[in-house]
């Protein structure tokens, strides 16, 4: 009897150990690049040029790399602010437009609705590099070239097909009866959207916001082509400038610092928003 019990306990322990062991191993694989980058960004200027083993600072903690990064362009703060403005602007505008568009495509009946929707989705198939030149010309005509607003509008445009698709699906998943109940309760138009439907499509909104933020935060090519003024560069361009180095010498410390500056906000945005991916949000509405 006791033998059986012990065997079962041992098996349970082994099972739990295997489960957690695998989890920890996977976590290490995913977290190691972050740890190595962040740690090595704090190495001394001279140490930064040495082979990166061990990756952590051995000769004391230093902010040299960040000072180095700051010496490029208009200063790292300025470029971070540029990136933040563009990314947050893109996320907000994309959410507002795709929310309304998704609602319209999901709930209203109008002529050529499906054709229009397919058209929007079809634009996903156009490689955006191929429309960079026309985009540049259009922006120039509008007087928006070399401006962060112009860049934001381009990013929103690129982001919209996926976002509209996402939001239409989110609205499609909301039972029609909820909307009808709200209409009988006297909620109409904007009130209906904000008070009743918005909380129900929140996971969709969060997805759209995260994608819009990350994509515009990391985007390089359009920013490189459309921005010409040094002080308006976004972080990816700064990093590439840092990577290109000065007089042929690459400041690896500054590169590591740049990568850190770029990735930390993304982590924050994701951790901040992911809790809205609440599962079973719709539970109890119908059935």
């Amino acid at each position: 009897m006791t033998g059986k019990k012990e065997a079962r306990a041992r098996r349970a322990l082994l099972g739990a150990g295997g489960y957690h062991g695998t989890g920890i191993l996977l976590a290490i694989f995913f977290l190691a690049p972050f740890a190595i980058t962040i740690l090595s960004s704090f190495r001394h200027g001279t140490e930064a040029r040495l082979p990166p083993i061990p990756p952590w600072p051995t000769t004391g903690f230093s902010l040299d790399a960040y000072r180095g990064l700051d010496s490029f362009g208009a200063g790292v703060w300025q470029h971070t602010l540029n990136s933040a403005a563009v990314a947050i602007g893109t996320a907000l505008l994309t959410v507002v437009v795709s929310l309304l568009a998704g609602y319209g495509f999901s709930r209203y009946r109008f002529m050529f609705k499906n054709a229009l929707f397919v058209l929007i989705i079809a634009t996903l198939m156009i490689p955006f590099q191929s429309i960079l030149t026309p985009l540049f010309i259009i922006l120039a005509k509008l007087g928006l070239n070399n401006s962060l607003i112009g860049l934001t509008l381009v990013y929103v445009t690129l982001q919209l097909p996926f976002s509209v698709f996402m939001m239409r699906n989110a609205f499609d998943a909301v039972p029609k009866e909820i909307e009808e109940a709200a209409r009988i309760d006297g909620a109409r138009d904007l009130k209906l959207l904000v008070r009743v439907l918005l909380p129900l499509v929140l996971p969709g909104i969060v997805t759209v916001a995260i994608f819009a933020f990350l994509n515009s935060w990391n985007e390089f090519l359009a920013a490189l082509v459309l921005l010409s003024d040094n002080s308006k560069f976004t972080l990816p361009i700064l990093i590439s400038a840092v990577r290109a180095g000065r007089l042929g010498a690459i400041d690896w410390g500054a590169v590591q610092a740049g990568v850190t500056v770029m990735s930390v906000p993304c982590l924050f945005v994701f951790l901040l928003l992911q809790r809205y991916y609440m599962r079973g949000l719709m539970a109890g509405a119908v059935k």
Binding site: P175, E177, I178, E180, A181, A182, R183, I184, D185, G186, A187, R188, K191, R195, V196, P199, L200, G280, L281, M282, A283, G284, A285, V286, K287
Partner: protein, 355 residues
């Protein structure tokens, strides 16, 4: 009951060129419990949703309490609706679900609290007020949905198959509860269902619909005992009425499967030789009559209190008999079936009742 509850005048509904409601006229007395029944696709839900204002009226007029509401917003019609799927707001607590409509009307906070408390007391959901719909059982959710209707203090309650998502036992107890609610509140209630038991037990007036037309409207007893046509006769009652092909022989006689039976009608408008339908309810057939229709028992279903005999007439027409007491019957037996003359129904070829 005064006569100005809900009035439908020549109400029509089309989707594109397809008309689905064909000029419905209906006058529902104030305070009545009206049940719309009919097979699926008959337009009963559409009609209800038109009264609610969720579907536009293509033509005709809808009046509630003497006020034309045909083009009035749903929230201004003085109605409240309970949906089959409950349609609770999942992100709000039960209390907020109940209060939402009143908040939208900018009702005073004290009044809201009072009405929510009153509705919760009527439905015995006081202890659930701070939960969310996701934490409730099906029956509790349906109570909340009904509560949301009560707090609005509507002139008319609309129920769209409110019990079809509940299990059988809960359905019976909620049915009783809805009847109690009607007695306590005294409002006009319009109730859509495809469940005959719900229709028969709850209704003051049953409205039988088919293909967007009212086939018959009347008290349950009238609809059951005195159906206007073969469709209503077949739809109301379970198991359904046996509708047998017969031939009118004149002089109050019809011929079914080679046998001549008395038919309690004068036969005005019929010529001997006309095809008619002879309707007999399974529960009115008497097994072992000395003179009557001969039938062979195919299958026998034993249900405890009663037995259903699935029979065939000599010409192969199927017939169901409800059999309570008497000598044992086995499948393969031939039985003689009688029926009281006032329980025999004759319909002409187009299905209309001949009285």
């Amino acid at each position: 009951m005064s006569d100005n509850g809900v009035q439908l005048i020549e109400v029509r509904k089309s989707y594109g060129s397809m008309e689905v409601i064909h000029g419905v006229n209906l006058s529902i007395p104030d305070g009545a419990f009206v049940v719309f029944v009919g097979p699926s696709g008959c337009g009963k839900s559409t009609l209800l949703r038109m009264i609610a204002g969720l579907e536009e009226v293509t033509d005709g007029e809808i009046a509630i309490k003497g006020r034309d509401v045909t083009d009035v917003d749903p929230s201004q019609r003085g109605i409240a609706m309970v949906f089959q799927s409950y349609a609770l707001y999942p992100h709000m607590t039960v209390r907020d679900n109940l209060a939402f409509g009143l908040k939208m009307q900018r009702t005073d906070k004290a009044v809201i609290d009072e009405r929510v408390a009153a509705a919760a007391a009527i439905l015995k959901i006081e202890q659930l007020l701070d939960r969310r719909p996701g934490q409730l059982s099906g029956g509790q959710r349906q109570r909340v949905a009904i509560g949301r209707a009560i707090v609005r203090q509507p002139e008319v309650f609309l129920f769209d198959e409110p019990l079809s998502n509940l299990d059988a036992e809960l359905r019976v107890s909620m049915r009783v509860e809805i009847a109690r609610l009607h007695r306590e509140l005294g409002n006009t209630m319009i109730y859509v269902t495809h469940d005959q038991t719900e229709a028969m037990t709850l209704a003051d007036v049953i409205v039988v619909l088919r293909d967007g037309r009212v086939e018959q409207a009347g008290p349950p007893r009238t609809v059951y005992e005195d159906p206007d046509n073969a469709f209503v006769a077949g739809f109301i009652g379970s198991p359904r009425m046996n509708l047998l092909d017969a031939v009118w022989r004149g002089n109050g006689k019809v011929e079914i499967a080679g046998q001549v039976e008395a038919a309690p009608i004068s036969g005005a408008g019929l010529v001997p030789g006309d095809k008619v339908t002879f309707g007999l309810r399974p529960e009115h057939l008497i097994v072992g009559a000395t003179d009557g229709i001969m039938a062979r028992v195919d299958v026998l279903e034993y249900l405890g209190g009663t037995r259903y005999l699935y029979c065939q007439l000599t010409d192969g027409q199927p017939l169901i008999v409800e059999y309570r007491d008497g000598p044992d019957v086995r499948s393969g037996d031939t039985i003689t079936l009688g029926c009281p003359e006032n329980r025999r129904y004759i319909f002409n070829e187009s299905g209309a009742r001949i009285r």
